[in-house]
Every structure is written in C-alpha cells, then in structure tokens.
Symmetry: C2
Subunit: 478 residues, 2 copies
C-alpha cells in the first residue's frame, strides 16, 4: 500500500524542473495521454470533463449575449485561404494540407482549418444582404490544426479544441464594442470560473492576429513567471468584408461593407489552470470547473454504519455540488493522495467517531486545512466553503502575480530583471517595432500587451530613450 | 405581404420531386448552407440548435449508463490504420489524406479520421493492463471525414458530426451486452426524442462494419419509402485487441485479450427527422429536439395591452418549454408561414378578443388543429399538448411505415413490389451472400437488417428457393 501511495505521488517537484512537473501532472492526474500522431494529444475522461465544464459555463455566457452556435467545414480550399493577404501570410506556413481523397489527387488542395475567418466570410457573403440581416453573432466549438514544431500538452499542440466567435456588424462602432465586450467576457470567465487573475490589454502590431486591425488579449502569469496568452478578441474593420466582397444595403439604400470581429479561447485554458494553481502534490482545480468538487472518503468503512452514513452524506450533497463517494477497497491514504493529485477541491473524511459526533471533517486541497462541519449543515456549509476556496485560490494567484511584477526604467534594469526575476516586467515604450525587436534580442522578452489600465513609470522608452507613448507588460511567454 | 408569404412558402412539393423538396426544406428552414468546399455543409444556427438538443439528450443517456467522454486526435497515421486488415480495406478508399505540414512533406501520411477504432485501440494498449482497468466505457463527439462521391445535406456529406462510442470489456459476454444495450439506447432515443419508429436488427455479413464480428442497426422508413440506417452498434470480439496487442492480466493472472464494441449516430438523424415528419409546408419537428417548441404571435399587436399580455404569456411559458415571442413588424400571416417552415410544434395566437376571454388559440403544426386554452392553465396544458403532439407524430409515422411494409414470397413478387411500391419488403433468406447480390441486381434492393422480431413469411429463400434461415427487411436505402 505504501508503495502504491508513492507511485501516485511520484511527480517531479516544481522547483526541480517546472516543465517536467507540468507534464507529470498532465499524465498522473489522467488529463491526457500521448498519441501515435506526433504533436497531438488524447484528452482523457478527467481532462475532458474539465473542458466540458469550461464549455458549459462559457457557452452560457455567449448565449446570454445573443450568440448562436454554428458548424463550418473543417477544410478550407487554398484559393479561399488566399483571399485576405495578411491572413494567408500568417497562417499558410503552419497549416496541414489535404491533397488526396481516397486514391485520387484533389484538383485543389485543402487546408485543415487553423481558424475559420475565411469560411465565415464566404458564408456571410451568401446570407447577408440587408441591414435587417445584421448583426450576425456566431460562435463555433471545434478543433483546429496548426503544424507546430515544438508541442506541449494543452499549451501548444498540432490539434487543439477551441471556440471561435465570428460576428458581423453594420458599423465599426458596434464591432469595436463587440470586440471589447468579448474580451471582458473572457476576463470575467478567467476570474470567476478559473480563479485566475488576468491583465487586459491590446497587442502591439507585431503581436496581433494575421489580418486584424486590432487584437485584444487577456494575459495570465504562470507559477514559473512565464506569461500565458489566455484568450484573444480581434477587430477586423471591413478588411475581410472587402476581400470577400461581403456587402449589405443600409437604411439609406446604399451598398456598404459590414465590420467584423472574431475571438477565441482554447484547451490551453486547462494548461493555464494547471500552472496557476497546481503544486507539488499535483493538480489544484477551481470549484467551477472541477469534475468532482467533493470526494467523500469513509474511514474504517468496515465498521457498522459508516458506508450507510457516507452514502447518505453523498446523496444529500448531490443537491448542491458535484460529489463522489469512494467506496473502493483502497486505503484512505491512497485515496487522499489520489484526490490530491486530481485537484479535487474538498475531501470529506467520515469515520465512526465523526458519526457519533454528528459531524465530518472537510479537508481543503490547497492548504490541507481541516474544517469540522455538522452533518445537519452540509448543504449550506459546503457551498460556502467552496466559495471561500475559490476566493482563496484567486487571491493567492493575484498576490503571486503582484509579487512577480516588476517595473523597469532602463534597458539595463530590464535585462537584469529578465535574467534574474521571472515574472511580468512593466516598462514604457515609444511605439516602434524596432525597440520591440531589440528587447526580444537583448532581454529575451516579448510585449505581452498594452494594458487598458495605464500608469506612468517614466516618460521615455525603456529601449531607445525617446518619448514614450504607452506602458507595456513584457515577459517571457508560453 | 402576400409576396413575402409566397417567398417563404415556395418549396417544391414532395410528390413533385422528393429530393428537391428535401433540399428546399434544408435551405428554407435555414438548417444549412452550401460551402465552398465540395461535399461539405455549413450547419446554420437553427440546424445546429437541433443538433445541440440531440447531443444533450443522448449524452445524458450515455452518461447515465457510466460512459465518459474523451477526445482523440483527428489524424490517423497510415501505418496505424493498416493494423486491422478488414478495417483498412473498408475505409482506405474513402479517406482524405494529409501529406504536407506547412511547406514540408510528411514522412508518413495521415488520414483524417473516418472513424476512430484504431486510435482508441492504440490508447487502450497504453492504459489497460489489469482486469481492474476494465471496462472502459468511452464516447467522443467530433467530426469525421469520408470522401464520398455523391453527397446530400445531413444524409451523406464528406464531413459530418457524430458521436462514436468505444468500449473495452473483460469478457465477450459483457461486450455483447454492451453492443445490444447501446442499440436499445438508440432505438429509445429515436422513439422518445425523434418520434421516429425504427426496426431493430442485425446487419448481414455483406452490410456489416469493416472489421466487426457483428453489426446491429436501427432502420427507419422515410416518407418516400426509402430506408435510412439511423444508428449502428458493433461487436468486435477480440479482433482489434489482437491486431493492436491490447492485453490485460485477468483474475487468474493470465494475459488475455479484452473484447470490444463501438457504436455511432450522426447528424444524419436530422435528415431522418426531416424525411419522417416533414410536409409540403416545410419542417415538422418533434418537441424534444425543437429549438423553439412554442412561437407566440400577437394579433393586432398595435391594440392596447396585446404586447404586454403576450410578454406575460411568454414569461409564464418559459418555465415549462422553449418559447419565443415574435414581436417583429412582420404580419401574422408571414410569421405563421415562417414558423411552419421551421417546424415549430405549436404556435399561440393572441389577440384583443382572446385576451378579453382570458384565453389563447394554440395551433398545432402538423394538422393546424386549433385548441383554445385558458390563460390560467397554460403551464399545465401546453406540456400536455406537446406530449400529445409527440405521440401523434410517432403514431402517424408508425402507421405510414406499416402501410408501406410488404411481404414478398417469391422473386417475382419482390421485383413487382420493389418496382411499384416504395417501402420495406419483408422476405425470407437462405443466408447466402449470392442471393443478397442477386436481389440487389434484379430488384434493386439491399438487405436492411435481420430483425430481432422474426416472423415467418414462408420457409424458403425468396431468391434461390432453398431452405430459409431468417426473415429480412429489404429496401432501397439512403
């Protein structure tokens, strides 16, 4: 038994090797398995149940704002991909090409969608004619393919699951509002469902989406001080509409081009959760997306009445949370380790003495704090404890991010921080691409975003010393 | 206005051209749009909302029986596809091949999954070692690709959405039970969610799935007398396990091969619903999967109090069904035609006189029957009427199927029926593949299934006259 416990727990510690710790958690918590297809992953039941919770919550937020789900083909003819020049330049180098159907060579090769702007535009052209047809507020849940060289589970894989919103509006103003609204939805989701603080801001021209006029992003800071782009929202203006000849008759009977947005989040969010909350005992899940929120472990379950009482507690709790009673013949110690590895927020220990005292012991995953709860108060106390737990995770992550955010006023300071202190670096910037490139070269950092919440660190560019226009977040990123 | 009504209603009648009627409904009810990618379709919001309802109900049925969702890669390396001989022979001629990633040619080409048995086996080999690891009850919702020559929306397209269940069991007996259980789940779903009667049975060896020991099917009869295979469940024995070297240690510490099943249904079910219940006014949807179950159309809505009352009725009904209030500036006549086209089960007409009488008029989509319902009884009466409506659709479809099912005792009779009477033909069969091929050649029919419910039509094979072993359903099929 001791051996089994050790087996479950044997993951590399974060400090020893963060990358190894990460993949250990992915495998040992049974989130993924590697596939025979290089660079692709198998999402196992426990990992997929997390994704289903993410989908359910996010899909509800989208629908509440009037978005509808659709499904577009997974293939894009090469000629269609090429219609918007910047877009094809950005994506063509990393798409997978289908060249044969059965034994026959195709007349035109098809790429497996890396993103679906081109398909949506082609469809919009068919169905949008009058201002009465606008807005179109569409979303799609699907998988996309990008032929990456280096891959890691959830963070960067050749195929990944995502949602991509695509909307079309009568005016630029309306499209801009949508772009901003959806970024706010992502930020709210990150905070409320993932207990993950994010910085909201705009990408520089260098970092924006291929074909977009403006890209907005939410950036999170991982345990190791690297940044993770966790969701993006793009404003296209009428660039795609023009390229695809999408037009509508406005109220004054004039033919005009509509304005467009797209926005997306991916299974990468699961990677974000692992690296935001996880610890050396494994995964730590925020309650909103945890497949199991409470695991009940009976103690001395051979004793009379223990299993019966545990079943009763389980049935009671089913009304207020996702609960699992583990009646298996493993030892309590094995079960404790198992549910810690899987990041279950709370475990309930229930033994003969607890039953005698009409109580149970609730143990928090994050700090192993023990809370005694009366069996009569379960349906009110457990939701309260889960809410407190969510807040505790959020606050801890926020505190860490704040402790790992540094201001740099000179290039030397920037390099010094980048070399020695993992985290976000805030610094002023003149707006020139050249300085962005140089900071990458010298300090190894990329611009993460121009945050909406600006504050002045100085008035000159950290790189060239010319007049600064904006404060940026910089960092090393996944 | 008259023009608008006509525009909405202008679909080909079933009798004139059934195939054209079908695609007209798909387009005019806004279920699909054609895509630039030949043979693929765009599923529009109304069509996708139907699929979401199908998914939600079916997924619940799967999970209740202990199945878990996973996600496998969409690509299968050629060498992996080739591991099971019959399987690759069946599928290789109709798969799409990815040969390039970005600008580079791949070392080994990948097919876009036509089905995922090979991927699941490869994964099972990694994760199954002991009898304690069994059973594995997995399901996946995804899209698959089969490079078909002739395509039709929902019925046969190069890419389609589906669910594929894949389970692994310790014994043949358990796997057989699972195969049968899931066929029963499909039949129950067809009847309870789609109001569609089906014949349950086994496929002949000629018609079974590539690589299966036995394939079971539910077969439905469409309005035009053609059969539609609507869901299949396969028993693989240990064939795949052997080919992929999946083994486990049983309770006696012996290494043995587990037994396997798979089962699937697709967006084809939407086609089945269209052709089972639809009429010359458009789609007719069973309530369980209808995105809108009740459409409220205010009459003389400029009169005082009408919109307010309609809103009140809508809010009341939201508690018991999916309801939409149409306050747009179209005429009631336009709206009637629109919701008929979209197959909304019930519409509620509410005008000043109805309000005076504290009632509303409920109109059924199928027969336009008008039912007066007191505004005080809405939350009990509407669910009742929806339930009656479901039963009416089911019974009508069942009666039609029975009226279109014929018994044939000789080859001449078979040909005579096949040429003149669209529908199912029941006839005895000796079990020889030769007779099956001959019936296809002479009468143009294929074997649909060997029904579980056998009844003797004679004792000799309808084709060769030798001793018959089974009664079969035959027919022309989609």
């Amino acid at each position: 038994m001791a051996k089994q416990e050790k087996l479950v727990k044997s993951i590399t510690s974060m400090d020893e090797d963060f990358a190894k710790w990460y993949t250990d958690v992915c495998i040992k918590a049974e989130l993924i398995d590697y596939a025979s297809v290089k660079g692709c992953m198998i999402i196992r039941p426990y990992g997929y149940a997390i994704w289903e919770n993410i989908q359910r919550i996010m899909d509800g937020m989208f629908k509440e704002l009037g978005h509808e789900n659709v499904y577009m083909p997974m293939f894009i003819p090469e000629s269609l991909l090429q219609k918007e020049k910047d877009h094809v330049e950005g994506f063509a180098p990393e798409v997978a090409w289908v060249t044969h159907g059965g034994a026959e060579e195709l007349e035109e090769r098809l790429c497996v969608r890396p993103t679906s702007e081109t398909l949506f535009c082609d469809h919009f052209k068919n169905i949008v004619h009058s201002y009465r047809d606008l807005p179109k507020l569409y979303n799609q849940w699907c998988s996309v393919v990008r032929w990456e060289k280096t891959t890691r589970p959830f963070l960067r894989s050749r195929e990944f699951l995502w949602q991509e919103g695509h909307t079309l509006h009568a005016t630029a103003e309306e499209a801009r509002q949508e772009t901003e609204q959806m970024l706010n939805v992502y930020a709210r989701f990150a905070e409320e469902a993932l207990a993950m603080p994010v910085v909201k801001g705009q990408k520089t021209d260098k970092e924006k989406f291929a074909g977009a006029e403006a890209t907005y992003t939410i950036e999170a800071l991982m345990h190791d001080g690297k940044a993770l782009q966790s969701g993006t929202s793009h404003y296209f203006g009428d660039g795609f509409s023009r390229a695809f000849e999408v037009q509508y008759t406005d109220k004054d009977n004039k033919l005009v081009h509509p304005h467009q947005t797209s926005w997306g989040t991916t299974t990468r969010l699961i990677g974000a959760v692992i690296m935001t909350h996880g610890d050396d005992n494994g995964l730590v899940l925020p309650p909103a997306i945890a497949p199991i929120q409470v695991a009940i472990v009976p103690i001395a379950s051979h004793k009379e009445g223990v299993v019966e009482k545990a079943t009763e507690v389980c049935d009671t709790l089913k009304k207020v949370c996702r609960v699992k009673l583990d009646n298996s013949d493993q030892t309590p110690g094995w079960k404790f380790a198992e549910y810690e590895m899987k990041g279950v927020p709370l475990r309930i220990e229930l033994g003969p003495r607890d039953i005698e005292n009409n109580q149970c012991v609730v143990v928090r995953r994050d700090n192993r704090e023990k809370i005694f709860v009366s069996l009569d108060e379960l349906t009110t106390r457990i939701p309260e404890i889960l809410a407190e737990y969510h807040d505790a995770l959020y606050n801890k992550a926020l505190e860490r991010r704040e402790a790992m955010t540094y201001d740099a006023k000179s290039l030397e300071e920037m390099k010094e921080i980048a070399d020695n202190k993992p985290g976000f670096i805030r610094a002023m910037w003149c707006g020139d691409r050249e300085c962005e490139d140089k900071l990458k070269e010298i300090a190894g950092v990329t611009s993460r975003c121009i945050p909406f919440e600006q504050h002045e660190i100085g008035d000159t560019c950290v790189c060239c010393g010319k007049k600064a226009t904006k404060m940026l977040y910089w960092g090393k990123a996944y």
